[in-house]
Amino acid sequence: MTWKQAFTSSIGKKLVMGLTGLFLIVFLIVHVGINACIFADLNVAVWPFDPSDDGAIFNRAAHFMGSTILIRILEVGLFAGIILHIVQGLMLEASNRSKRTQGYAVPLAGRGSKWYSRAMGLLGTLIMIFLILHLAHFWVKARITGSDDMPEVAGMHDMFNLMKVTFSELWVVIVYVLACISLAYHLLHGFQSAFRTLGVHNNKWMTIVQSVGVGYSIIVPLLFALMPIAMYLGWVG
């Protein structure tokens, strides 16, 4: 058994999907944590919120991410992980579909499986399309082209203002919220499936994995969805 055989068998390919998926799940915790700093500016004068913050905490956090060499190196790994997850996922989906050339006249439909478990390819594709838009909105402007909506404040990019301007358009807010819903369902299957693929079969541990998975799949996309909503409705900024 060579390394190549180990990673290109049907289980090996699933291992790649599971490991990159879990890596992206860890990344999302960092992403949502940093971005949730915008809520420090929430328009309520109760600790820890401060309406005069105007995104200062968030901008500092974003600056730290953009100016720390270790994180910039990890960023390369992140892109590699995302690309691997997407390419392998699309190839697996195509390969799996090719295994049944003649379909059934009466489909099995929802018997025994959830729709989002069967629609991982579609949900992932929707998230991928959103990612292109999302990178163009923020990452490309912050790292490459710059933007008039992102002036320097105290020597740092005003990412907070860029968010505010981006989320002032209703269609952008709607697209982001729809993407968060896709992400939630993608995670609802992906989180526990990744652990199964890694070989977790102990009932006691699977109970924890499933509970944490459901919690994660609801909380993280919900927090993400609240960001464009809060910006659009003027709760922050």
């Binding site: 180990a6 799996n96 006249a105 099995l108 018997r111 959830k114 199964r196």
Partner: protein, 253 residues
């Protein structure tokens, strides 16, 4: 249970051979007893077809008591028909009422080519077993049954996995035509016992290699296989197979 007779409309997949292009044909069957099994209902239809000088419908069957794994049939969108944890031969006509239309298709999977009508070639499963679903025991006297202590829980879990009859309903139901539930049951029944330990690595590696070679898809843990399995084989076995395989793949030479 009250006995009754019924007339039914059947939409049956007919296909002359593997290469031929098949299609559905409609048949009416009359005076079917509610006490008949589903296969007996097809027997009645076949006798009529033979009497009319037509080609009877080919379908797989053997023991007709739910233990051999030969019967198949994808009935109204579900392998082995509407009942839970049940084989087609044990499906009885009391599941239907007068005037019902029943659609009968063969298992659909690239790895299970249709031989004729409702019969598919499931020898891919045999080759997966031949690749490692066994233990090698040299000749000699039989060992005393109590020489090897086995934990009761493990013996029970092994026995539950060994209940797999290899019918292929899991493949038929899976959106990826994956044979992982079958293969995981065949790996688990041996992996949990001391007799299976010496060959556990080569078993997992070789059976998965054969499974991939046969053209089955990859598992995406949707759970459709477990839901249609006539023997209630658990999805947990697939995670155990993943563990067996990954452990072997990362450590074997």
């Amino acid at each position: 249970m009250e006995h009754y007779n019924m007339n039914l409309n059947l939409k049956v997949w007919r296909q002359r051979n593997t290469q031929a292009k098949g299609s559905f044909e409609t048949y009416q069957v009359k005076n079917i007893s509610s006490e008949m099994s589903f296969l007996e209902m097809i027997d009645v239809l076949n006798e009529e077809l033979i009497a009319e000088g037509k080609d009877p419908i080919a379908f797989d069957h053997d023991c007709r008591e739910g233990i051999c794994g030969m019967c198949s049939l994808y009935i109204d969108g579900r392998p082995h028909g509407p009942w839970e944890q049940n084989t087609t031969c044990q499906l009885h006509m009391r599941a239907y009422k007068d005037g019902d239309t029943i659609t009968i298709e063969p298992w659909r999977a690239g790895a299970f080519p249709v031989l004729k009508d409702l019969m598919v070639d499931r020898s891919a499963f045999d080759r997966i077993i031949q690749a490692g679903g066994f233990i090698s025991v040299n000749t000699g006297n039989a060992v005393d049954a109590n020489a090897l202590p086995i934990e009761k829980d493990k013996a029970d879990a092994s026995f539950a996995a060994a209940a797999c009859i290899g019918c292929g309903a899991c493949v038929a139901a899976c959106k990826n035509s994956s044979a992982m539930l079958f293969t995981s049951a065949k790996v688990t029944q041996l992996a949990l016992l001391p007799q299976g330990a010496p060959e556990r690595k080569s078993r997992a590696l070789n059976m998965i290699a054969q499974m991939d070679k046969e053209g089955f898809g990859a598992c995406t843990n949707t759970g459709a296989c477990e839901a249609v399995c006539p023997k209630g084989i658990s999805l947990t076995n697939i995670a155990r197979l993943n563990q067996e395989y990954l452990g072997a793949a990362l450590t074997a030479n």
